[in-house]
């Protein structure tokens, strides 16, 4: 009997030790990441931060930087030789990729009742928010330019794009998200990238596995009133995350904040009572465009739009109240 108890004691001890060691090994493996490379650079007029998990991260970082720079030369109105600049000068342009982007923008403009509109370029130039010559334009100036604004003025047909008014295209509200789409397409075509998270000026694309156990990516959401604070963290497997807020580019005059997200129906900075919207969905262009549209529309009017595109959002209003629409794995701080 005594021997039997001794054997049982030894067996129990061996079992306990095995469980503890196996648990330790399991968690150790979970925290082990793949080979890793990181780079911060400037592209598309903003910070491009790449974190790539691959045996050859430098090669992919270089490719992604080229992809973003190449896209910028197509869609930036500041690049004199870009198709968008040519369009804005009154020329007809033949560019299949740009046609696709503008189709998507027109659709979101229609769905948002014209609040979101990429033909607002000339009005944006009047304000020049975030630039040396930023100012509050006269009402008459805004009204004069607003007369030319309208997504209906983008004509796409017979393989060509043209504008039917003196408006100009500004793809600033979708450019970073579009870059995220291009990056995702590249990453999916590779066979040696295990995981990646890339931020194009704060618009994020998350791809693949975070680590060998496939844990979720964690994307912190910037606090709109504390530049070193975060609202919380979004966890996701793969996808796109974009934020529009009144804190990135703005100036103050006579105690009033004038931010860079203009309502195309008024020509003035949007004033829906929202100060930050973060959108999660399965397209970079959409996440970027929807965050802008939702910021302009406000939470209630955005719900149908988000549902239509199967997107989710975190709204912050000017009382710093946070609300989540749709399904987001969000952990508030």
């Amino acid at each position: 009997m005594k021997n039997k108890t001794k054997i049982l004691k030894i067996s129990l001890s061996v079992f306990l030790v095995s469980v503890l060691i196996l648990t330790a090994l399991f968690f150790s493996e979970r925290s082990k990441r793949f080979e890793y490379g990181e780079k911060n650079t400037v592209a598309m007029g903003t910070i491009l931060t790449q974190k790539i998990y691959s045996d050859n991260p430098a090669n992919h970082i270089s490719h992604i930087t080229s992809i973003v720079n190449s896209l910028e030369s197509t869609i930036s109105w500041r690049e004199d030789a870009s198709p968008v600049s040519s369009l804005n000068k009154g020329n007809s342009v033949s560019d299949t990729a740009l046609s696709g982007v503008l189709f998507s923008c027109i659709e979101i403009s229609e769905e948002s009742g014209g609040a979101f509109d990429v033909t607002i370029g000339e009005v944006s130039k009047l304000w020049s928010i975030g630039e040396e010559n930023e100012r509050v334009p006269a009402q008459a100036e805004i009204e004069a330019e607003l007369g030319n604004v309208g997504y209906e003025n983008i004509i796409i047909g017979n393989g060509e794009i043209s504008l039917s008014s003196d408006c100009s295209i500004d793809l600033g509200a979708v450019g970073k998200g579009l870059a995220c789409d291009y990056i995702m397409n590249y990453l999916k075509a590779t066979d040696d990238v295990n995981g990646a998270v890339v931020s194009v000026g704060g618009s994020n694309v998350a791809y693949g596995d975070y680590n060998k156990a496939g844990d979720k990516w964690r994307i912190a959401v910037r606090h709109p009133r504390n530049e070193n604070g975060y609202l919380g963290v979004i966890s996701l497997d793969e996808g796109f995350v974009s934020t529009s807020g009144d804190y990135e580019k703005y100036f103050e005059e006579d105690g009033k904040r004038y931010h860079h997200i203009l309502d195309a129906n008024t020509g003035y900075p949007a004033s829906s009572g929202i100060i930050s919207v973060t959108v999660v969905c399965d397209s970079g262009l959409l996440s970027d465009a929807l965050s802008t549209a939702c910021f302009i529309l406000g939470e209630e009017e955005s719900k149908a739009l988000l549902e239509k595109y199967n997107a989710s959002a975190i709204f912050v209003n000017d009382n710093m109240e946070i609300s989540v629409v749709g399904e987001i794995d969000f952990e508030a701080y």
Partner: protein
């Protein structure tokens, strides 16, 4: 039988289990580093300076590209830039590991890192 066994557990057995638990907890803890901040400064995408902020005895100024950068124990900020928009100066002091800020016209990026893993992989803004 199990109950009987538990009753027979001696102090030595408990000590052994405690040692094993401590060993496992230590295994789980993040290894290396105490969370001290390091500033990495990039010009044209290349890291040109890495400064351990915690090692600073006093504030330090660096000129990279057309930017004057102030390094302090608890963070970093753009003091002055030759750019026209001054968005980098308006950003103020950055204090969190995992964050980055830039003077886009001068193509200068400053990123903060820490040996202690950040709670997140990226920031949306």
């Amino acid at each position: 039988m199990i109950l009987k066994l538990i009753k027979e557990i001696k102090k030595g057995d408990l000590f052994l289990v405690a040692v094993l638990i401590v060993f496992c907890v230590l295994w789980f803890l993040p290894k290396g580093g105490d969370g001290n901040l390091t500033a990495e400064i990039f010009l044209e995408g290349e890291c040109v300076q890495t400064v351990a902020l915690s090692d600073l005895k006093e504030d330090r100024k660096l000129t990279v590209g057309g930017c004057e950068i102030l390094l302090q124990k608890d963070g970093v900020l753009f003091l002055h830039s030759e750019c026209s928009d001054k968005l980098c100066e308006k950003r103020g002091k950055m204090t969190n590991a995992g964050d980055a800020m830039a003077c886009v016209p001068q193509r200068v990026v400053v990123a903060l890192t820490s040996e202690k893993a950040a709670d997140f992989d990226s920031v949306v803004y």
